[in-house]
């Protein structure tokens, strides 16, 4: 009996506590965001993951940026720019009167400092951090020159028309040199910039708190504070949103989409992102060196079913690497239709009337990989139907990336997040023959002479109209001589409470909470 009454007492305490502190409504002006994982650090030049960027980029800004809902390049901290005829000099006029959160002035010196700390090994502050993508982004930068306090010039080693798009990357953010000097290696944990929010505090594993920058130059920020909470478990994130403890969650798992769409307490947002999910094919291995085989694989896969049944509508059909409806996209392109009959015919023509056996490598998860195993399983059964027997091999992400460097892959699932819509930023690294793995990320070992030439020509001109023509031709080549099985572009999802007004998802996968207000 004593045991029973003890348990009753415990139950009473629990329920009393539950009543005493219900999931209280957030204080007015505070937005609570649930992230899929904890940010690793907040210096966008030193991070490579989405969660860190989504927080870090509230604090610092870039010279050029994107407007809402598009990845066209528009002025940011620079109010205007000119590009020299030879495409080697980019001169930026900076906005005047902007200060960093620590009160120091934003100047051309700060721009030079922010970039050079990453690329110049002799820079006094280069040793304070590791800049994984410094070479990828700025390897082509010969010098950053201060013309006057509000004019800065980038001198390139060779023309690269996508350089403006490069300058929208997090790594190109302008940081307060005073803060970097003051905090040293710890700067990455408490960044100082010109952005709409200031860093306040970080309780490890629990929350990162930012506060509005009352002197933000672009517009008055309408919320006072943002709290980011890392919650890995999908169900926990969802529960916190539905019980009112979170205002916004990003990355809604496909299986929850229907449930949230039907829930009157929350709003579900969708936005196609600058991303592509593809099933890579080793173009140098038999039988894949025959383009008829690669075409056949494209016909054999039911992409509609993948998007509808596995991704529950969180993907849009891909017809190539370039995001449809952007300036570089070829509008006449059609996705490969699902046509197993045609696939079998093409395989027979190529000399494989009875199909063949091959392997498909799949990571269990990974940045931008959506639902890799489920998607690959559908592909496996589709290919089986046309006589191609696929052995599925799943791997952990780190192990998978290492294995792809061996060039032993036959079929492999991978994705790419360019973060912007410049076609050069996706086609060149993934498909130009100079980028074959292990040198670059062309893991399909794709090589097409005309395609290479077209991409190279497009880099030499800064006229966007001319570039678009080159890229359209390149995309037509890719449809005829497919390097991969094209699958989908991710439709990113977020859900928010009704009190959140004006949240829009951005195609770059950024989460711009500065544009919202709270009811």
């Amino acid at each position: 009996m004593r045991v029973a009454s003890a348990w009753l007492a415990v139950a009473a305490v629990i329920s009393a506590a539950g009543v005493a502190s219900p999931a209280a409504a957030q204080p007015a002006g505070t937005l609570v965001v649930g992230l899929v994982a904890e940010p690793v650090n907040l210096d966008p030049a030193q991070v490579t993951d989405l969660n860190s960027n989504r927080v870090g980029r509230r604090i610092v800004e870039t010279l050029v940026t994107f407007p809402e809902e598009s990845t066209q390049v528009v002025p940011g901290l620079a109010e205007s720019w000119t590009v020299s005829k030879d495409g080697l000099r980019y001169t930026f006029k900076l906005r005047k009167g902007i200060t960093f959160h620590d009160g120091t002035a934003f100047t051309a010196e700060a721009v030079k400092f922010s970039i050079e700390r990453q690329i110049d090994p002799d820079h006094p502050f280069s040793k304070l951090g590791k800049y994984p993508f410094a070479n990828y982004n700025f390897g082509n930068v010969k010098a950053v020159e201060v013309v006057d306090p509000s004019t800065v010039e980038f001198v390139l080693k060779e023309p690269r028309a996508s350089f403006l798009a490069v300058l929208t990357a997090g790594a190109a953010s302008v940081v307060s040199p005073t803060a970097v000097k003051k905090f040293g290696a710890d700067y990455a944990l408490q960044p100082v910039g010109t952005g709409p929010f200031k860093y306040v505090s970080w309780d490890r594993g629990q929350r990162v708190v930012l506060e509005k920058n009352a002197r933000y130059w672009r517009y008055p920020v309408k919320i006072d504070r943002v709290v980011y909470r890392p919650i890995v478990e999908d169900q926990a994130r969802l529960t916190e949103l539905l019980t009112g403890s979170l205002d916004v969650i990003v990355g809604v798992p496909p299986d929850f989409v229907g449930q949230l769409e039907a829930n009157a307490r929350v709003t579900l947002l969708k936005q196609v992102g600058a991303h592509v999910w593809y099933l890579g094919i080793n173009n140098q291995k038999k039988p894949f060196d025959d383009k008829r085989v690669r075409q056949a694989l494209n016909y054999a896969v039911n992409k509609d079913a993948i998007v509808r049944d596995v991704l529950k509508g969180t993907g849009s059909l891909s017809r190539g690497p370039v995001l449809p409806a952007t300036w570089g996209a070829e509008p006449m392109l059609k996705p490969y239709p699902f046509d197993p009959e045609r696939a079998r015919k093409l395989l027979a023509e190529a000399g494989y009337p009875n199909g063949f056996s091959t392997s498909l490598w799949v990571p269990e998860s990974g940045s931008g990989m959506q639902s890799p195993v489920a998607m690959s399983t559908v592909i496996q059964s589709n290919l089986k139907a046309v006589g191609v027997t696929v052995a599925l091999q799943t791997m952990e992400w780190g192990a998978y990336l290492a294995k792809l460097r061996t060039k032993e892959q036959e079929l492999f699932a991978l994705s790419w997040m360019a973060g912007n819509e410049d076609p050069d930023m996706v086609m060149y690294p993934l498909l130009h023959s100079s980028q074959w793995t292990p040198t670059g990320p062309n893991r399909a070992l794709y090589k097409n002479a005309r395609f290479d030439e077209v991409l190279h020509q497009a880099r030499l001109t800064t006229d966007q109209g001319k570039r678009a023509e080159f890229y359209r031709e390149a995309q037509r080549i890719l449809v005829d001589d497919p390097p991969w099985i094209f699958i989908d572009h991710e439709i990113q999802t977020a859900a928010h409470a009704k009190r959140v007004q004006g949240l829009k998802l951005h195609p770059s996968f950024d989460l711009r909470v500065e544009t919202i207000s709270l009811k």
Binding site: K130, G139, G440
Partner: protein, 316 residues
């Protein structure tokens, strides 16, 4: 006694050394390295080579290990590759949260398990005994993450009694009450398997003890039943129970990894998972070292408890 203690503490050194070598090897022999994961699918060969050199990964394994050991001896666990923070401060900070969670789960499972076991043993084959047998089977066979999610859906989503995740409210809160409310679901989830194991063991040892001659003697002398059960029975049945509680303490530390992940509990478990996925060698080494150390210390504490419980046991 003191000599025994000193000897046991000295034994810590080879144990921790062995643990660190094993974990170091396992981490480094697994394919993929931190540079690979940081650069992800966009890596170029040149960037990888540069980053690897920067991170000191190009040196032979034994050089990397000895360098790390050199740091450890000086009480420094290095800086996390991924998070750029000093590992020691990070791990100790997170370990407090893990201690709170495992401590609560251990308390819950010990008190609950012993009470349930004693109650079952004093009324074998009663309704309570049978219910507890069924519950034990259920508790022991349920995966932690599944039970956690079920409890979360019922008590947080449907009933709205308890918060679904975290250790404190994201704003305000921060006091003991706030902590306790957040602690309930993860602690119950973590304790579920242990409570049943302890209950079953307590029941069988108690049944055996209660059948002893001295219990009959005590009853014959007219000692009240409660005193018979608790003072004469339970105290003598405690040795195997303490052993299993000690084992469970270690199990709970390990099980905390999953529970913490489900409930976004900011402990060393979530940190370790992050570290392993990122191949953050110094961070994982630091976490494992701290967990291993506490495991060994718990075992030592259990051994010392024996002597206190049973005066016949001497450590010389």
């Amino acid at each position: 006694m003191r000599r025994y203690l000193v000897r046991r503490l000295l034994l810590l050194v080879p144990v921790l050394l062995g643990v660190s070598i094993i974990i170091f090897m396992v981490l480094h022999l697994a394919p993929g390295d931190p540079a690979e994961i940081m650069l992800g699918s966009q890596a170029t060969h040149a960037d990888l080579a540069r980053l690897r050199a920067d991170l000191g990964l190009t040196e032979p394994l034994y050089v990397q290990y000895v360098r790390w050991l050199g740091l450890v001896v000086r009480g420094d666990l290095g800086r996390s590759i991924w998070m750029k923070r000093p590992v020691l401060a990070e791990v100790l900070g997170r370990f407090q949260a893990t201690l709170v969670l495992t401590g609560a789960a251990l308390l819950l499972s010990t008190v609950g398990g012993v009470a349930l076991g004693v109650a079952s043993a004093t009324r074998p084959n009663s309704l309570l005994d049978r219910l507890s047998a069924v519950a034990s089977l259920f508790g022991a066979s349920m995966p932690v993450f599944w039970l956690g999610i079920v409890l979360m859906v019922v008590f947080a989503l449907w009933l709205g009694w308890l918060p679904a995740s975290g250790m404190f409210s994201p704003y305000g809160g921060g006091d003991l009450g706030d902590l306790l409310v957040h602690l309930v679901l993860p602690a119950v989830t973590l304790a579920a398997a242990s409570v049943t194991i302890i209950a079953r063991l307590t029941r069988s040892t108690m049944l055996e003890t209660l059948g002893q001659d001295y219990i009959r003697t005590a009853r014959a002398k007219g000692v009240v039943e409660r005193a018979v059960v608790l003072r004469h029975g339970l105290k003598n049945a405690l040795i195997p129970i303490v052993t299993v509680v000690g084992v469970q303490a270690g199990y709970l530390l390990g099980g905390a990894v999953l529970t913490e992940t489900v409930f976004a509990w900011p402990g060393v478990g979530t940190l370790m998972v992050q570290g392993i996925l990122a191949r953050d060698f110094p961070l994982v080494q630091g976490c494992v070292l701290v967990v291993a150390l506490s495991f060994v210390l718990i075992n030592l504490a259990v051994d010392l408890l024996y002597a206190w419980l049973d005066p016949r046991i001497r450590y010389e």
